[in-house]
């Protein structure tokens, strides 16, 4: 699968759903700032990666997938749950990009201007996220090729 932007997907969610995401994300940012102010930036920074919108986002993804399946006349609960699970697997891979973003700021933040460090970290984040996606694709392809090749390596006299 080639990674591409699909702007029409923005219309699939309602304004309420976007508002919930922005509300939780914004509240967590404010909370992280307050924690950093009172207990120091190391503890505050920890909360910059708190999955504040994950429960709401996963539930909405589950709901959308379930409704789509139900419109086709199926039960849809399993599809909804599995779609949300796939989104969460994506988050695991995306964490590599965020990790690279944090490491760049940690490495360069104290010696360079924020105007320089933040754009560089953002580019590194994008590169990290796309690289992990590509790595996942390569690993999956190798796994598929290996599984297809496996029966041929099995001794002919043991095959039924």
């Amino acid at each position: 699968m080639i990674v591409k932007a699909d702007i029409s997907a923005l219309k699939k969610a309602s304004w309420l759903e976007y508002s919930i995401r922005f509300l939780f994300g914004g509240l967590m940012t404010v909370l992280a700032g307050l924690i950093a102010k009172h207990y120091g930036p190391e503890l505050g920074g920890l909360f910059l990666a708190f999955p504040a919108i994950a429960p709401a986002a996963a539930t909405m993804i589950d709901q959308h997938a379930k409704e789509q399946k139900q419109r086709a006349g199926f039960e849809g609960h399993t599809r909804g749950r599995k779609t949300a699970a796939l989104d969460m697997f994506g988050t695991v891979w995306a964490s590599v990009g965020l990790l690279a973003f944090g490491l760049v700021i940690w490495w360069m933040g104290s010696s360079h201007s924020a105007c320089l460090v933040l754009p560089i970290a953002t580019v590194v984040w994008l590169g990290g996220a796309l690289s992990t996606w590509e790595l996942r694709r390569i690993l999956k392809r190798q796994k598929t090729t290996h599984h297809r090749a496996a029966p041929a390596q099995f001794p002919a006299h043991k095959r039924k």
Binding site: G45, A49, P51, A54, P55, A58, R81, V92, L99, G102
Partner: protein
């Protein structure tokens, strides 16, 4: 943020596994698993930064 990201990866992996393998409610799984994030994040913070 780096340690929080490691905790987020652990959280997302646990949630994905639970949603794939068990028939629990998505909101319940994602909310209860926030304890995983707290445990990993504060565990790493207390070992490496405190």
């Amino acid at each position: 943020m780096v340690l929080g990201t490691i905790a987020m990866a652990a959280y997302a992996w646990v949630v994905a596994m639970l949603l794939f393998r068990a028939r629990h409610n998505t909101l319940l799984v994602t909310s209860a698993s926030l304890l995983v994030w707290l445990g990993v994040a504060f565990g790493l913070w207390s070992v490496l930064l405190k």
